[in-house]
Symmetry: C2
Subunit: 227 residues, 2 copies
């Protein structure tokens, strides 16, 4: 997936069931790889996407009739590419806005929805933003990314505050030049981690608090406890 508006990489089917329609990149699982290796390989080989900042399983789609002919079981993934990167994709592939998809093959539209919803949820309670943003960015750039992904205007002020409070933003010391119309130059930040972590454990019914002074922010669950 990708941003400005949230986009998905699709390619045009060259074969007959649903020939010509847009479909998610992917392919057959080889006997010597697991599903994640497989999707990474397919993306690298077929559409030359290698800089994935985050990859996670979505779900298995296995309806016997999801594809004409013999049943195909698909394991769907959410894969993220950061905002700056624009991999040179082949002729027959293109990025499409997630909220205005062309006619897609099979159940791929449903899969994209699922991916979008998962991304949205995780932007709230994890540091997943790191996977969408470039190494260094201004808060307003980040605001654009979050807004695009979430589908509504996010306040830069609060974005700043929440991410800071969670210890996710590291000021790099650099500043971006101000635009031609003036304005204070923006400070540049980067994310503190480049792997996904749950930063806002919604754990209600928490275990009794440790009796100490300041309650350390619990960095509870493993990344895909909640998937």
């Amino acid at each position: 997936m990708r941003s400005a508006t949230l986009q998905v990489l699709l390619w045009r089917r060259a074969l007959d069931p649903h020939l010509g329609r847009w479909s998610l990149p992917g392919g057959r699982l080889r006997p010597d790889e697991d599903v994640e290796q497989s999707i990474r390989r397919q993306l690298a080989e077929k559409v030359d996407v290698k800089q994935l900042t985050h990859v996670e399983q979505l779900a298995v789609f296995s309806d016997p009739y999801r594809v004409p002919g013999p049943r195909v079981v698909a394991t769907a993934f959410l894969g993220l590419v950061p905002s700056g990167v624009d991999p040179a994709v082949p002729e027959d592939t293109a990025w499409h806005p997630v909220d205005a998809l062309p006619r897609t093959a099979f159940d791929h539209e449903a899969i994209v929805q699922r991916a979008r919803d998962r991304l949205r949820a995780k932007l709230s309670y994890t540091n997943l933003g790191f996977a969408l943003a470039p190494k260094e960015f201004t808060i307003s750039a980040l605001r654009e990314l979050y807004s695009a992904a979430l589908g509504y205007r996010v306040s830069a002020t609060n974005l700043q505050r929440v991410l800071s409070r969670r210890g996710l933003l590291v000021p790099t010391g650099n500043t971006a030049p101000s635009g031609r119309t003036g304005g204070r130059p923006a400070a540049l930040y980067s994310f503190a981690h480049d792997d996904m972590q749950v930063t806002d454990p919604f754990a209600v019914f928490k275990p009794p608090a440790p009796k100490q002074g300041r309650r350390s922010r619990t960095r509870v669950s493993a990344p895909d406890t909640v998937t």
Copy 2:
């Protein structure tokens, strides 16, 4: 899964790779069913478990070497059976405490861990308790269930309050007799819904609040947005 302490139903393998070890119930996917239908069928046919109150996909396990011999791709599920129900399971199957598993076959221990973690997370931010509890229950019974599932003592007081505030508890009007040692008889409750709903959308960066009087509790995401 099941409670008192949290338990999993395992059965002893009768065939040779890992013969005799305990393994999760399951089996091959038939061409005319999807994975969920399949797991429900297997549970019904093989271990006679039919009253599943909740079933959800966990993840695909596809390591080429997870099982000796030709690779087997497994789609793991979390399935819940309410506390009262005690399905008559066959000879070679038994419930095992999740935190003290016997030696299991293949990667089944890891799968059970995942299931446990998922359950724990969802107890916090969804109404998933309904799937563990019987139709009618006292708060302290519910407290036992939550405590067993979460692995630490939950306060009955707060459990009450949180679930009530979320509108999940409906008093049935009935009361349970008090124990032989006396004590106020407990009121009986039931859950307001018997399908899973996200009740505590951790949505930070919420869309701007509707300017109206009382902000309606958003029942945002679809059940498996967050999986």
